[in-house]
Amino acid sequence: MYQKISIIILLIVTTLSCNDTDPISAIDRVDSFDRSEMLSFWADEIIIPAYMAYANDLSEMDETAKTFFADPSASNLEKLRESWLEAYISWQSVSLFEIGKAEEIGLHNYTNIYPTNIELIHSNISNNNYNLILPSNFAAQGFPALDYLLYGIEDTEEGIVSTLSKEDVRTYAISLIERLYSITTEVLDHWTESYRSEFVANDGSSGTASVDKVVNDFLFFYEKYLRAAKIGIPAGKFSGSKSSRHVEGFYSEKYSKLLFQRAFTSVKDFFNGISYDGQRRGTSIKQYLDQIQNISNSDIDYSGNIISQWNVAQSAADALDSNFKTQVEEDNTKMLAVYDELQKAIVLLKVDMMQALNIQVDFVDADGD
């Protein structure tokens, strides 16, 4: 008896301890949702193409910037601005995948913190002694800083061209553009070199598995960047008073809606499993939810509820002025309406969807019982 039990205990304790490393190799699973297929689709058809397009646009911007600084003219400024807009738009499709290297280096913080800090930009320019890697410089770089330099640094087009041509300003602008490009290629290279397979292989269901992380990032993007930063904060939802200074693309004064729409479309496409180029459909969260609804015989149409709420939000957003600054200042109620509709989907996403997928919001590495 004593020996029997001792042996059993020994065996067990060993098994329990080994669990952390999962020594037993996976075998084929039937009839269940294929997470690794979904992860492959995400990586190969959505995330990597988005990063590639974005990196491409950034290198384009780098080119046009070189052209401009070689020959500062209003028309070259216009080309630079166009390429800036292209890249800024592409960024919106990348931003929701802050995972892997992007998470590690904090891509978003270096790319799109707004409102940008004008004093800091000017002091950086005049000091010529700045380190863009420092968190204190988050608000002095990225697209918002370029927005200021390209549109807001002077009142007139000529003024902008001449100021930008100044040695110190030019240096600063170029360093901003190059930094954007360099950190993006770092992320992209990491994806293509090693992270893609790591990402797809991590197809488990723990809090640190790829699906859980991407879904959390996706939710975070929706809640913080789409709902709050682009709409809620300018509309004054979190301060009590509206503030057009918080609009994305504040200085260019016309692209805020475009940027928002692209970001929202990226969100919806990702949820629905539409490839970056829009040509293919793949395994998606929507399918995953639909299958869970099926298996559990639930009468809750998880994905349908989310999609129809987004449609409502989309119609509300369609009614907005192309410049949110004007919208906020002249008829903030429409902004508030869009916020409210986006907000309603939060409950469907953070509560119903997360429970159905059994993914924890912001995985906490602690014990349960």
């Binding site: 059993i8 329990l16 037993i24 269940s32 939802k237 429970q355 924890q360």
Partner: protein, 449 residues
């Protein structure tokens, strides 16, 4: 009947099972505390958060900043000390106080098995677990005994029985038994597991686990008590805890329960275990096998039974308090904690706080991540007492920022065991006008099934 009590209180039993439990339990606690420290959880759960959620009546328990590390160190030291039986009474009292203090610092981290550790260590204070196989007994020969009063071993067994039986009774609810919830939600997400993963979508498995779990909890203690079934009960217990450990992140819980189950094993089993252990550790085990019985040494011993009887009465009645509140227990969670309700529900929530100036009517929303860790946010959004405490904290915060005439409302939604999300707290109640208390929280909206 008349003479049963005196005869029972004088019964004796071998000291080996109790000593073995003391030893194993102490070591497990030491490992737990080291693991907690090693994973950086002291920092993450206690030091970093600017705000902590308090248990009702324990607002005075605060996190002592960096001294928290010292607290953990003392706690770990005392656990090792009582494991080896060195200055046992002092060590176990220090362990009980420091461990309980740690648990009371933030109810975000509440776990039933932490509560169990506090209770077991409280019981250990009152019983002579150091009378055998201990440094104390080795050094002071007068303390070494082969036998102890039987009630001191039975007290620990009773505690374990209460835990299992209440855990089993708590499973007898419609979600668990009829709908196999929340297990079906959890298991469905485990299709990635090796070998058994492919079964995890199967409904029969969800029911098997649900019903098996309920039957296991309800009856395991009886099968452990009965010597003929004990070995099968132990095997079942191991299987059960392996499964839960494989499926869910439950930390040290299975080890504690396995150690506790050894309390039900025969004295001869434990004697062999301790004598074997002594050989390995080069301790002369024979000195403890002197045929003597532990007798009262200090006043502790005299009063122990009279402390433990009310203690167990409270233990039996306390988990029933949930019946004093109306509404669905899982939804309101009134009387949910400290009642051995383990893994009974999957609840997801979302709480969006609105700060209103009652005079101007202007309002803004709070970004919870400015104040709470994500773990705290998660716990806060599904539990009404957290929401109230947090709202009061927000009230203080914004008042100190110069806001006046503040009202705080919450737009909260929660989803229970796969039901569609529904409003949780009445959004029209100014949370600053209500206080946490033991009374029924009328501002929790009813659950629609």
């Amino acid at each position: 009947m008349k003479h049963y009590w005196p005869s029972y209180i004088n019964k004796t039993t071998k000291a080996a099972p109790l000593a073995a439990f003391r030893f194993l339990f102490g070591l497990l606690m030491l490992i737990s505390l080291i693991r907690f420290w090693y994973y950086g959880w002291i920092e993450k759960l206690y030091i970093l958060p600017t705000f902590h959620f308090h248990y009702y009546g324990f607002d005075w328990v605060t996190v002592p900043g960096p001294w928290t590390y010292l607290l953990f160190f003392v706690c770990g030291l005392s656990s090792f000390s009582f494991a080896i039986g060195y200055k046992y009474r002092l060590s176990i009292i220090i362990f009980f106080l420091s461990f309980t203090y740690i648990e009371l610092m933030d109810k975000t981290t509440y776990l039933n098995h932490y509560y169990l550790v506090s209770l077991l260590s409280f019981i250990l204070i009152w019983i002579p677990a150091h009378a055998h196989f201990s440094v104390d007994a080795y050094k002071h020969k007068g303390l070494a005994n082969e036998y102890i009063p039987r009630w001191s071993l039975d007290a620990l067994r009773l505690m374990i029985a209460i835990v299992y039986i209440y855990a089993g009774l708590a499973k007898l609810n419609s979600d668990w038994m009829i709908d196999a919830l929340p297990l079906s939600i959890w298991l469905r997400a485990k299709v990635d597991l090796p070998i058994i993963g492919s079964l995890m979508d199967e409904q029969w498995l969800h029911y098997l686990f649900s019903w098996g779990g309920a039957i296991y909890d309800l009856f395991i203690v009886f099968f452990l008590i009965c010597s003929r079934t004990r070995i099968y009960a132990f095997a079942t217990m191991l299987f059960f805890h392996i499964m839960t450990r494989l499926l869910f992140p439950i930390g040290m819980f299975p080890y504690i329960m396995i150690a506790a189950s050894l309390l039900f094993f025969s004295a001869s089993f434990h004697t062999r275990f301790l004598s074997g252990l002594s050989k390995i550790l080069l301790i002369p085990y024979d000195v403890f096998c002197n045929g003597l019985t532990y007798r009262r040494h200090i006043n502790f011993d005299r009063y122990a039974p009279y402390i433990l009887i009310p203690f167990f009465l409270v233990q039996i009645l306390f988990p029933l308090r949930c019946h004093l509140y109306p509404g669905n227990l899982f939804w309101t969670e009134q009387g949910y904690r400290f009642s051995w309700r383990v893994m009974l529900m999957e609840k997801t929530g979302y709480a969006n706080f609105k700060v209103v100036d009652s005079q101007s009517g202007k309002h803004f929303y709070v970004q919870n991540e400015d104040f709470l860790t994500s773990f705290q946010q998660k716990q806060m959004s599904t539990q009404a007492d957290f929401i109230i405490e947090y709202a009061h904290y927000l009230g203080e915060h914004f008042k100190s920022q110069g806001h006046q005439n503040i009202q705080i409302f919450v737009e909260s939604y929660a989803s229970l065991n796969g039901r569609k999300s529904q409003p949780y707290i009445d959004p029209d109640v100014d949370l600053l006008t209500v206080k946490n208390s033991l009374a029924h929280k009328k501002y929790i909206l009813p659950l629609h099934e």
